[in-house]
């Protein structure tokens, strides 16, 4: 799942597994840094990979799991639902931006949208820690504040990467679905109650 920028692909076949894994992990880590400090740069777009989004999506879905004591019908999102929402949402937004005439490729867009879930995953971690304390309005206010900040961070990060690929008179049309996507994920994080 890597873009073709190496000329001699066969040379990586002989290296040890540890080298391969460390190289991929470093690439994923570098992109995480780019998301946390968003500047207009091409790194996410040039060397796209889907490992980061997969790790983030699985982490988020695992953390959003509740115990299965509740009835299935009335509960929060299950693992599969979170997965489907994240990936289908990302695919829909990518198709939307391509149909509007953007010049970004399918996987580059998926990569950017997936990596920009990182702030919201951090918010989920923080919320889970905060929920270990006693429940109450202060607890809720803290979680609300954290989720809002991370939601804004996600939007700013993804806009920094995606906005340039759209024709100028359609930027808002392409960014609005991104806003809706991260809003839904933030809503899932905020309504999480561990029972």
């Amino acid at each position: 799942m890597r873009s073709h920028i190496r000329e001699f692909d066969s040379s990586t076949l002989n290296e040890s597994v540890q080298n391969t894994i460390m190289r991929d992990l470093k690439a994923v880590g570098k992109k995480f840094m780019h998301v946390l400090y968003p500047r207009k740069s091409n790194t996410l777009l040039r060397d796209w990979d889907l490992w980061g989004p997969l790790i983030l999506c699985v982490t988020l879905a695992l953390m959003l799991q509740r115990s299965s004591v509740d009835s299935e019908k009335d509960g929060g999102p299950q693992f599969a639902e979170v997965f489907v929402i994240v990936w289908f949402g990302a695919v829909t937004i990518t198709l939307n931006s391509k149909l509007l005439g953007g010049n970004i490729s399918f996987f580059q867009s998926l990569c950017v949208l997936g990596y920009c879930i990182l702030p919201l995953t951090v918010a989920m971690l923080v919320c889970r820690l905060v929920l270990l304390a006693e429940q109450g309005p202060i607890n809720f206010m803290v979680r609300l504040f954290v989720v809002i900040v991370m939601f804004t961070w996600s939007i700013v990060a993804s806009t920094a990467f995606l906005a340039d690929s759209q024709p100028p008179n359609r930027k808002a049309l392409a960014i609005y679905p991104v806003f809706l996507f991260y809003f839904v994920i933030s809503w899932m994080i905020l309504t999480f109650t561990p029972q």
Binding site: D74, N96, K98, N103, S105, N169, R170, Y176
Partner: protein, 310 residues
Amino acid sequence: MAAADELAFHEFEEASNLLAETPDAVTTSGSGQLTPQGHVAVAVDSGGSYGAEEEVEESDKTALLQEKQQPGFWTFGYYQSFFDVDTCQVLDRIKGSLLPRPGHNFVRHRLRNRPDLYGPFWICATLAFVLAVTGNLTLVLAQRRDPSIHYSPQFHKVTVAGVTIYCYVWLVPLALWGFLRWRKRVRERVGPYTFLETVCVYGYSLFVFIPTVVLWLIPVPWLQWLFGALALALSAASLVFTLWPVVREDTRLVAAVLLSTVVLLHALLATGCKFYFFQPLPLEPLAPPPQATSLPLNLLPPPTPRSQVT
């Protein structure tokens, strides 16, 4: 890069032949790709010389205005023609649906016979999510009043909302369009709308429900019904004013029945959403959808009345 893989090998040969013939030719990039230098994209259904290809591209642009020649439905360009709108155009269409005027036909004045799928699709998606989110919020508010109510995220309601709204915006226009085409022989002057124009009208008419649903958070029952009636009136008026020129020439009976069916279905959608997503306070968790008015207080006199469990 995916589109390059889809092009058959013989088309690349054709493209390189074309480039060899006309060395000064301008290469065009494929739709939606970051293309490296010198990449030639050949449209799937173009053929012949480069001159013909240029004409096809030129006529594709004019064809959208004249509806003479469209790319085949298997090409990406076909679907791109439905998303050929700018931000200001979408905002303009939304404004047009919010303020329906008797003389102004939404399709002729706002759409100008160029329907788009962006508006209906994302308005429905927004409405589905807003319904689920605000419905959940009313449960939170109910729980604060009555701590015995069990709060849960109710995530399955998103699925229900989405399926209902999308089905409404696709199936009802389909039925309407089919009916209008069937009655075409009765009308002489005004032709029926295309299927996409009907979908567009329905999609944009649902926009007024988005702020209404948010306003339904206010827990005052008569205010909720007022907002609902107002939104329904605006939305149905927009639909009726658009359909009136088309059914005007039909017999009175058919016109009356059609318009009242349209309004009735719209009202059904609005009240269905209100009852399913906004159960009034307070509420017993597993009761069927209760009435909006309060039930008899023949139990102990608590600060909030309890509904009878059937």
